[in-house]
Symmetry: D3
Subunit: 246 residues, 6 copies
């Protein structure tokens, strides 16, 4: 089984962290490859960034389909392009917010999300609602640490503090890490915070592995069927009839 984990920002160092966390949990028969998007923003910290990260993500899905990949993880907590990716892929596509929130819902009555910039809180709340997880999501808390500074060793303590404060304020049973760039902090934070801490990169990898093992993939018709072939114009013309969706 081949699972591709797509980092939809263009920062390769972050992809390396993501790949390591995904591989650490995959089963023996599962090959996990992480790839970095080749177009768009260096990090995703606004609706604008997110929207413009999607074409690069979809190009990776199209490439994966050509290469026979079995399933995909979208390794950004905004789950950018999830529905479009599901149209394009034959196998399952899971976002890390989706997987992390689902996982946390099995651990208790409520979880807190700890994330990067305050301006991304709204997107996390929208996703919680979309996935039916709003009843479990007790709060989304920003640390105001930019995505590309998460590898600074000094921020670990700040994030641990934010997790503890979130659990206390929300009375939560678990913490969900609100950025793929926090994946390698999960073990450390689990030791620091008194409740389970969920990293969506690892969770989504196992969710995809499980769905592929179960043979579960979208039906051939309906909302998520392959997009109808169509003429595309301008810099994105490769996504049209003779491009990705053909």
């Amino acid at each position: 089984m081949r699972i591709r984990v797509i980092n939809p920002n263009t920062t390769a160092a972050m992809t390396a962290v993501i790949e390591q966390c995904a591989r650490a949990v995959a089963g023996p028969g599962t090959a996990v490859e992480a790839v970095t998007s080749t177009m768009g923003p260096a990090s995703i910290e606004s609706h604008y960034d997110e929207a413009l990260a999607v074409p690069g993500l979809l190009a990776e899905i199209a490439r994966g389909e050509a290469e026979g990949v079995d399933g995909y993880v979208i390794a950004c907590f905004g789950d950018p392009g999830l529905y479009a990716a599901r149209e394009l892929a034959r196998g399952p596509v899971i976002g890390i917010a989706e997987a992390a929130m689902h996982a946390a819902s099995h651990l208790g009555r409520g979880f807190s999300v700890v994330t990067t910039l305050e301006r991304t809180v709204g997107q996390a709340l929208d996703l919680a609602e979309r996935y039916g997880m709003a009843r479990f999501c007790r709060g989304v808390h920003a640390t105001d640490i930019p995505v590309l500074e998460l590898d600074d060793p000094e921020v670990r303590g700040v994030i641990a503090d934010a997790c503890r404060a979130a659990v206390a304020a929300d009375g939560s049973d678990a913490v969900v890490l609100g950025c793929a760039g926090m994946a390698d902090l999960c073990e450390y934070l689990t030791g620091e915070v008194g409740v389970p801490v969920v990293d969506g990169v690892a969770a989504a990898t196992l969710w995809v592995q499980s769905l592929v093992t179960l043979g579960l993939r979208k039906s051939g018709g309906g909302e998520f069927a392959a997009p109808p072939p169509k003429r595309y114009t301008g810099p994105l013309s490769t996504f049209g009839t003779d491009g990705a969706a053909s």
Copy 2:
């Protein structure tokens, strides 16, 4: 006051229809210009199309900001890129689904949406929820007429039949037209269907005009503040630091 109506697909003939419908309702002091996106799909009929129409839409917002436009209408019923556009624009940005659903909510207890392809129904339901209009939206009904065939005179009757059937099935007080390409059918359909019929292009034009008149625009900070400048890579690099968001 200058309002720009953006057709986020690349079909100029549809833009002409849209412009006419928007101008027909704008006040005497309001200049309405409709523009056609220069990149992306010829029509938007999937999540994939919608995601790939957003960069072209954002390019038009960026151009409008440089030209001092006061407010924007996104003239596609999926309201693609609405949140990203709000980050980029100083003035109000309204989607046609948003305006049409709001307008219909003032006319009675429930409305039906009549739209194009079945696969777009889910997006309309998501938007109804996002805008708080789910309690008014009693059903979304597909005609399975592709967007680019809406100017075929023969489809008028099919759409009228679908509107009547939707009203009967849902017990609705109004019909919302689920595609910008139906804007010029609104008058005809109003005569055919026994309840008011709402075209979002006209409604959104007046909503933007009203918000500009009221002096209401997003606050400077928070979720919809201007996106943080950032390095962008590849075909979309013009959207980065030295591009649209600067």
Copy 3:
């Protein structure tokens, strides 16, 4: 186009303020007249007051219908008698809570309402739910200033403080003013509070103007059709068969 703004309390001084705020935003072709109810309470600060303000409001709607008015604003934040007024009027009727909440929903993810007496908070919450705006309404905050003391220059600062406190507590993107008597404070408060401030009197005036321009009015049948003629008894007998609804 003739729009009538009805002050459903009997205090003419408040009507003058309301008329000025409504006229300030109406388009060049729109004649705005504000009228004062001739029966009921001097201000509306309880469910009791609100219920007893409705007959006077309906009498004004009936008079407006006889005079060919095109649309109505109910200028009290409880939106008293909205549904009954819609039955009676041929054109659109919009409440100021309705318009203000809708307008604020286009400005961001959440708004706070700042209102007069604590006991009116529940009604504002009910209206937010009725209009689908509960997901945007993050809090309703009372200043405990009675309606008829809003024209005291000393209260301006108290209200500004309440707005700032509400925004801080709720993390809101906008403030909605919870009383028609605050309409003339909107400009001042916009300067004082860091987010947009919405006055429902102005907003509702433009909403009605927009709906009339769009030619949108209730369908002839259904819940909001003209009320069935009926015998009325006692002091309200003028509202019956030979009265308002005939």
Copy 4:
């Protein structure tokens, strides 16, 4: 204990039916008196009628308070003026829709409401939501029998048919009768329909009796405290400072 059942329409024949049904269930120590409103419509079949029935209802509450009544039933399925009545009364006030829906919620997972005119359906749905009963209310079904024709012996069969059809369509565990004028049909319908049939007049009488026995009444402050005294103008001036609320 004295319970007053108020018929908020002006049709005394209907009051007689209501009184009989209320007395049939009241406990030995409970005196039940039904009264007819002295102002407003002969029957309540629109939002307009309902709004204009409220002053008469409130006059009866005020009279009851002067006479030392312990609790009140509002015997119209729209529960008109419920919140205003609660402000005025020291003891409990229960609407028949409120009591019937609550009672039905204890009998199974879902109930159907069978009512009079189609145009009243929306009000029943609003009440179900207000009382938290929307999750139990599976449908509201109109018979299109006017309120004042409910005493026609020929309509019994029509209503029984409507009840059976509603139960079949909704898969309901109970039927709620949607009009006080149906109170005396409850026993007949229980025999005809295969599920329990709930009459709100009887239910509300026992709910009030129970609340009085429990000593439960609103707190002295807050939303439902006595309305603040205030000057009232015109035909309703008796409701003001020197009138009902004093």
Copy 5:
């Protein structure tokens, strides 16, 4: 009329308190008997305890059915086994959380629950949702007093403090006591707290009495029909074909 109040824990001293509070409100024609479960935990303070209290509760329902009891109260705030009990009983079965929350919903816009251990809060929230009372339930507050220490005179003041704090924090119109063991504190607490205090034991007794008086009982078929006879194994075999459900 015979009403049986079942204490589903095995502590007879608590049953005595419960019986006294139930009898104090029952009508002259109503015989109230309280019984103590003969199997399971001494008090119910976890999902585990609750699950294991249900067989004993069901045995009492089966015994009551054999003895011709008309209706039942489940006197534990988790309302354990409510649905199973409804299948077994011919007459109404009401839980004390159910009755107390319903009663409180008639007293204002929101109530607070004050309960025993923190770990039981989730169950109370689940019940509020199940009964449609979530919109009224503003908070569930634990005192962390174990159930079997509620008869300690020293805890009265602690509970009164918790009630006052809950009302202040939630802005509630009423307090619901979250344990049958608090039933005899209701009068004291009513005097201490500024809002009505609701004891579910008394409320449920009157709810059952009311439903029996109204002749309302579940329909013969559907979800709550008598459970299908079935072979049971092991220590619970008496509950099977030749046992309770036969």
Copy 6:
């Protein structure tokens, strides 16, 4: 890793089917053992049966804990005793309704449940709500085939028909099988129905495996902490202080 799949009814033949379906998907390092409850009903087809199956289920959890089991599947679609089991177990416990609904939510916008007896529909709806899956669950459809007749070869076609009818009626993207006894029909039904078919036994096995791999288990405190030790009486006394929970 050791996963125990508990059949909470006492029918060993059904356990054998369940074990086979669970083992078919488990990873190479995972040992799956299915066990049959030793007390309670032969099949679970009512709230009564479900309540009385829980003690046997909890006894198996207690035994598993003593034996060092890493995680548990509750193999009955009512997910009986889930919360109590979570208190008792150190590792994850997942119900098959829970896992199947979650899995189906990743496959599209909505699923239909196809189940056994009509009277179990309510429980499935309750679970969908509890897990946040109500927005995905478009309908629960009964075949009225008793649990213990599911191994009759003749019922396969009936269930396939029901699945197809459910998909057509609900417009669903997937079918969830509503009984552990249908697990071995999943492959057959997938071939017959045009959308993916989800068996909760297999899904829950992989969910537990994933959670154990991720190292995610409940926090030590809070609602799902180990139940407080307590004296138990009667036939269930082994569950008390000296029994399971000790």
